[in-house]
């Protein structure tokens, strides 16, 4: 139904084999799909709908409802800025601005070279170390705008 770049079908059949083929598996399957492909590709969703016998419209509805899912390709490194209350009052806003400035994108966007995507998260539960930024898998506690450049450097994959 759409022309998307090479999507490896093996990963999908491996994911589908782990769950019962029914609607309650939908969110779990989409989680794994998102992890494997870094987003929810159109073609894959069509196949998921068929395999789980769930109407495609429902799959699309679920895929757009939950914040964990993206329908467009994500950057190689996801930068998550926690905007929980503790982080908010300890300056998450300034951090986010600095990240947006350095990467020249807004939250929710991806850099042109597909290096980074900035996302905001509503509390990662590391409030005692607020404000928190997660670059890829690495957590940075008590993050300061001045350290943003260094954090991105460690995340790797971006040449700017």
């Amino acid at each position: 139904m759409s022309t998307e770049a090479c999507v490896d079908p093996a990963a999908l059949s491996d994911i589908l084999s782990r769950y019962p083929a029914a609607e309650p598996s939908l969110i779990q399957v989409l989680q794994d799909v998102h992890r494997a492909y870094n987003y929810l590709p159109c073609d894959v969703l069509v196949k998921v709908a068929e395999a789980l016998d769930v109407p495609l419209a429902k799959v699309f509805s679920v895929g757009t409802f939950y914040k964990a899912f993206s329908l467009v390709p994500q950057g190689r490194t996801i930068v998550r800025v926690c905007t929980g209350t503790a982080c908010h009052i300890r300056g998450a806003g300034q951090l986010l601005e600095e990240l947006e400035r350095q990467l020249d994108i807004k939250a929710g966007e991806t850099t042109k070279d597909m290096g980074f995507t900035i996302k905001t998260v509503n509390c990662v539960g590391a409030c005692a170390m607020a404000p928190v930024v997660i670059v890829g898998e690495k957590y940075h506690g008590a993050a300061k705008p001045a350290k943003v450049g260094k954090m991105l450097g460690q995340g790797g994959g971006h040449e700017n």
Binding site: M1, L45, P55, L56, A57, F60, S61, T64, F65
Partner: protein, 275 residues
């Protein structure tokens, strides 16, 4: 009908569904068990406004316009604000449809909907009936007619098609086909467009073609009258569900009825002749 008769009747006919008796704004009303407060109010002739309700579909409780206060004798004047479309009618329930809380809730809901749909006649009219001529909030800079009552997606589910759904959430929520493209599952039955209270789902239909959700359908023409009465996808869908061949739907309903009537007339003539 006296009270005694009521009791006698209900005891007599155990095969019939049980009934419950309650009052709405002081009027006593008896409805069968399982009915909603809204059903009871309609039976009693008490008007309760609704936007997301439809008799053919399960109650949903999204528009919140049909709120009423309910209480009972033993509740010491304590009231509970509920949506009448989903609250079950109960024996001895006292329903109040005109309390301050009910009025405030309806006013806020309509005020908010008028901000969302400032140009929609149905909403303008309803709001005006509740004393709101201009919204107190920021009017939508991109006016829409969709009030997100969910009737279209729910009727589509009900028919067993589920071609459209709500997508996204919160204020960004909208009704759309998958990937905002022509929905592969749509059968072109127009149920969504016809149930929409603000008629905001556009479609075109002619003798040869029907277009809805940017999907185009071939029409089936009735071999008798030549009218284009159903899409091929509809015929196939109904046939699958009803266990009959799709050709069963070639003839339109009107002609089928005419056929049946004429068979029946012939039968009477034959019988009359024999007598």
């Amino acid at each position: 009908m006296s009270t005694r008769q009521l009791t006698a009747n209900s005891r007599q006919s155990t095969a019939h569904p049980k009934t419950v008796t309650m009052t709405i704004d002081g009027k006593a009303v008896r409805v069968s068990e399982g009915a909603s407060v809204l059903d009871a109010a309609r039976q009693a002739g008490v008007h309760i406004p609704t936007l997301c309700h439809h008799e053919a579909l399960e109650a949903w409780g999204g528009c919140r316009l049909c709120v009423v206060d309910v209480t009972r004798q033993g509740w010491d004047g304590w009231c509970k604000l509920v949506v009448s479309c989903m609250y079950a009618a109960e024996d001895g329930l006292i329903v109040l449809t005109d309390t301050d809380r009910v009025k405030l809730t309806r006013k806020v809901v309509l005020d908010l909907l008028l901000a969302r749909c400032p140009e929609t006649p149905l909403i303008q009219e309803l709001a005006s009936r509740h004393g709101i001529d201009r919204t107190s909030y920021q009017a939508n800079p991109e006016p829409t007619d969709c009030i997100l009552c969910g009737l279209c997606t729910r009727v589509c589910d009900h028919i067993g098609v589920s071609a459209i759904s709500t997508v996204d959430r919160g204020i960004g929520k909208q009704v759309a086909p998958p990937f905002h493209q022509a929905p592969p599952d749509c059968i072109g039955c127009l149920a969504c467009a016809e149930i929409c209270p603000t008629s905001c789902i556009p479609y075109e239909t002619s003798d040869t073609r029907r277009v809805i959700w940017e999907k185009s359908f071939e029409m089936v023409r009735c071999p008798q009258c030549g009218r284009a009465h159903i899409t091929q996808e509809q015929a196939r869908h109904y046939a699958g569900r009803g266990g009959v061949p799709a050709s069963y739907f070639d003839t339109c309903d009107a002609c089928k009825r005419r056929q049946l009537a004429s068979t029946f007339t012939k039968l009477q003539v034959v019988q009359g002749g024999a007598r």
